[in-house]
Amino acid sequence: MFQRVRSTLLLAAVLVLCSVLSLFIGVVNFSVSDVLNGNWEALEILVLSRLPRLLAILCTGMGMSVAGLIMQQLCMNKFVSPTTGATISSAQLGILFAFLFMPGSTLWVRAGFAFVSAIAGTWIFVAFIQRIQFKDVVMVPLVGIMFGNVIGGITNYLAYKYEMTQALSSWLVGHFSLVMKGRYELVILVVPLVLAAFLFANHFNIVGMGKDFSKNLGVPYNAVLFLGLTIAAMITASIVVVAGSISYIGLIVPNLVTMFKGDKLRGTLADTALFGALFVLVCDMLGRVVIAPYELPIELIVGILGSLIFIGLLWMRLNGKARIVRKPEGGCRG
């Protein structure tokens, strides 16, 4: 029993440590004793800025990696993720629509638009790759990236046409510098969504084994596929609305974790969530420290680290057994 949860406990401990540490990194310096002595200024910064930022980071890391894990399971392809499955770009298009049609909209209205478009975009992508059966696993994410770029192109065109580029830019490159009390609470939605993913973990696993396999066990394939993709898209959309686009996490974190822990979702979900949160937190701390007192957007740091790990993964999988072509049948296979 201990063996099985050892990695989870270890990750949780490191995460707590880093979280506490991160509260004391920033432009304004204060120490633990300031907070304990009731220094008003220090408390204010802690509650209004540092804590919200920490929560947003943890939710983002957890959410993006769990969303990626669900998408990879359901699509039977290790390279599908919110980035390579057009979910993020669809959410951005939704935010732009909110700006165009309801200029004075609140964060929650924008989130609503982002939910609808992220879900629609992901469904379209998965329906598309289910129809066309690719011979190579790498084709699926490539098509996803192209599809995402087409949607991104539409977003950019509309933004230029209606002079929205300024307003939109904050959602194109992910960063946490605008996160503070009153502007981030929406991202907490990630928590119930991740819990829902836990509840349906076994269903997702079975659907990931194929259409015939699920039907044999009495699992409604299409319903579970739609449910899972909807959860993943909603998680992604709530993060994009608050922090903007943060790529690669949904791709590399689940891949790294399943490499060690296997594909049984009940066993990997917790580790994936914790490791994702830790990864984003460490990247954010790096971004805040490197050129202090200024900070680099998280997207930049994650992008550099993530693309390196992604190339490594691609290289390993292409040299490994991932090129085996499966018999065409059901599923959104590659």
Binding site: K215, G262, D263, K264, A322, I324, K327
Partner: protein
């Protein structure tokens, strides 16, 4: 299980044409025939994986379409060749999926016991904690059968279970099929390409040609020089070996 006037079209082509037969309970039935004769499609329709265009499948008192999918998965199991085996699951985790219709993923004591029994029956205890993507084809096939045993159904349908297996593993698989029937009392329905496996290990044979039932009966009735030549369009010799008809074709 009673099949009546079962029909399936793919586009304008009628792949299964008013097929009727009855599946004898507690026996091994093999569906044979040339490629494209419709045997796999029939298998798909009697296991609800493929939607039928017309006809009826009576299963335990009511039409298959009226069955709730979850209840049906406690009575009838099907294994096809298309399952995703790249998944990094252990043998035990895979076999545990067989208990899903009963437990919905939350394994009870009884479920664990059934999983252990299935692993023992297929002699998989030693490799129970290995990942299935690291196993040989024969071991993986045995793990899939163990899952079906854990599913604890009266009917087991296997679509080309000897595909991609060498002679040793293929004949072992057929011996397992025989044991499922003789020791556990299951009704087993197979789609087979290799006629001699069908002749040596099944009780009944149903032969398809062009989407219709060409022959249905006991092994002795169906496996004859004239029948097989008509079904496959190739010359056959039949010899009796170990009390069974062995077909030689060239």
């Amino acid at each position: 299980m009673l099949i009546q006037q079962l029909t399936k079209h793919y586009g304008a082509k009628r792949v299964v044409d008013e097929v009727s037969f009855e599946i004898p309970k507690g026996k091994v039935l093999s569906l044979i025939g040339p490629n494209g004769a419709g045997k796999s499609t029939v298998m798909g329709m009697i296991s609800r994986l493929v939607a039928k265009d017309a006809g009826l499948v009576h299963f335990e008192g009511k039409d298959l379409a009226q069955w709730n999918s979850r209840d049906l998965s406690k009575r009838l199991a099907i294994l096809t060749q298309s399952n995703n085996i790249q998944m990094k699951l252990t043998v035990r985790e895979l076999v545990s999926f067989g208990r899903f219709p009963y437990s919905q993923g939350r394994l009870q004591e009884e479920d664990r016991q059934k999983v252990d029994e299935a692993l023992a029956y297929m002699e998989l205890e030693v490799i129970a904690d290995q990942f299935i993507d690291e196993l040989s084809g024969g071991q993986r096939q045995r793990a899939m059968i163990a899952m079906v045993i854990a599913q604890d159904t009266d009917y087991i349908l296997l679509d080309e279970p000897t595909n991609n297996l060498d002679i040793y593993h293929a004949s072992n698989m057929m011996k397992i099929v025989r044991r499922l029937c003789d020791e556990l009392g299951k009704t087993v329905i197979l789609v087979l390409h290799e006629i001699n496996y069908a002749a040596f290990y099944s009780d009944y044979i149903c032969a398809f040609v062009n989407g219709r039932v060409a022959q249905f009966g006991t092994v002795e009735d169906v496996i004859s020089k004239e029948n097989l030549s008509a079904i496959y369009g190739v010359d056959f010799e039949i010899q009796q070996v170990a009390g069974r008809p062995l077909s030689i074709y060239y």
